[in-house]
Symmetry: C2
Subunit: 253 residues, 2 copies
């Protein structure tokens, strides 16, 4: 059994905790939480500590806290030369303290509090300063996910920026679609099967292959009529910029 | 049995044809196709005509052709006072010829040639000039789909513009995400579970509730680091505009 200690009690920490609870290869030794209550429904209270100085010995310490707090937490750990990893998509491995051996254990998914996820399908991107530690992280990752990738800090940054486009920005386009429907009392649910199919399509086609619509086929009449229809200046600007981008992209292919 | 004649042999026509073939409430009387071959795998060849003048009698004529061709096809129909509908999201009902009773039968989905779809889950938006015809269209729609909506031409236009945002533009953001990954040899498939979850999330939350990310929480450090990371000017501009739009939208809520 690999002994794991989890530092943090937020969204990611709680989802990891649930996943480790089900694993037969990982022993969850301890969870550090500033407030006992936030994880007491997931782990026996004697395994929770609110004091970094009383952390028990473990094979891996997983810091799952907000990006801004990683360096501070890492610098306060009261031991040396142990394996300490963070779970962030955007923080570099170097943001960890030099006192310990560094690594990253980044589950790439959008976690919603209280919504159960199937961890088996969640990609985990791992990175480590030393080869031996890589094997430990790989074992821990393999026990909760079927999709483990070796990703260095630079690549992880690409993934994180890319995730902003395909998650945050995509969701914002859903918001705009919703607002346009609301304007004319059209139920937004009519668009849900289309939204689902748009996401599913790129399981079998590349996004470039899957591209359709007036921008792609340079249908000026429809584009003009849509711009004419949109009353919100911001929606118009987004429509124009993305239409232009689809057309420029088409020329490059 | 309601007698239906299909005019057209493209993507939408073929998917409708397959759906009607399975229906016990609709009798597919005839298909008009300029080229026999395109639908001969879906219907007995004696039911295919290449001549508008030899169209047999039916309860509904469904014109499933490109938007630009709807008016021309409708004006060439050799009969009067029958129910003629088109399947377009953007053409108004009025683009049909006054010789016949008008209607719209718009299945809202992105159809890929050769990829089977479950029509039961595809919303069909119907509209008609006369009440009696509405009932006929409703029966035809109900026999192939569980999601039939009454949508007028103005509302249908909202849906069509909204669909450009949630389908065409969303897919383009997938393309950008893919390009960013390719740049650093990161497999884009790592992002697929996130893409899927982003789409699934809004089955239970509104898009505004589901919004996360650096723009939403006004995390300037991450936003600046992402802009710094992006080398493509166009990607930078899209990042800036959508970040601003998420922040402005947050202020309105």
């Amino acid at each position: 059994m690999i002994k794991v200690t989890l530092i943090g009690s937020g969204n990611v920490a709680q989802h990891l905790l649930s996943a480790f609870n089900k694993s037969t290869a990982v022993e969850l030794v301890q969870v550090f939480s500033r407030r006992n209550e936030s994880v007491s429904h997931l782990i026996p209270v004697e395994k929770i500590t609110t004091d970094l100085d009383s952390l028990a010995e473990a094979d891996v310490y997983i810091i799952a806290v907000l990006d801004d707090a990683i360096a501070t937490v890492a610098s306060r750990l009261p031991f040396k030369n142990r394996l300490v990893v963070h779970t962030s998509g955007s923080a570099s491995m170097q943001s960890l303290n030099d006192n310990n051996r560094k690594g990253v254990f980044y589950p790439l998914q959008t976690f919603t509090k209280g919504k159960e996820v199937d961890f088996k399908t969640i990609p985990i991107c791992i990175e480590s300063q030393f080869n031996d530690d890589y094997n430990v992280l790989k074992k821990v990752a393999d026990t909760i996910s079927d999709k483990v990738f070796t990703i260095n800090s630079e690549q992880r940054r690409s993934l994180h920026v890319s995730a902003v486009f395909v998650n945050n920005f995509v969701n914002h386009l859903y918001s705009i679609g919703n607002a346009i429907c609301d304007d004319r009392q059209v139920p937004f649910e009519i668009l849900q099967p289309l939204i689902r199919e748009t996401a599913d399509k790129i399981l079998t086609l590349t996004p470039n292959e899957a591209q359709t619509g007036p921008a792609k086929r340079n249908d000026r009449t429809t584009i003009e009529s849509h711009l004419d229809f949109l009353s919100d200046e911001n929606h118009k600007n987004i429509y124009k910029l993305l239409t232009q981008s689809i057309q420029d992209n088409g020329k490059k292919l």
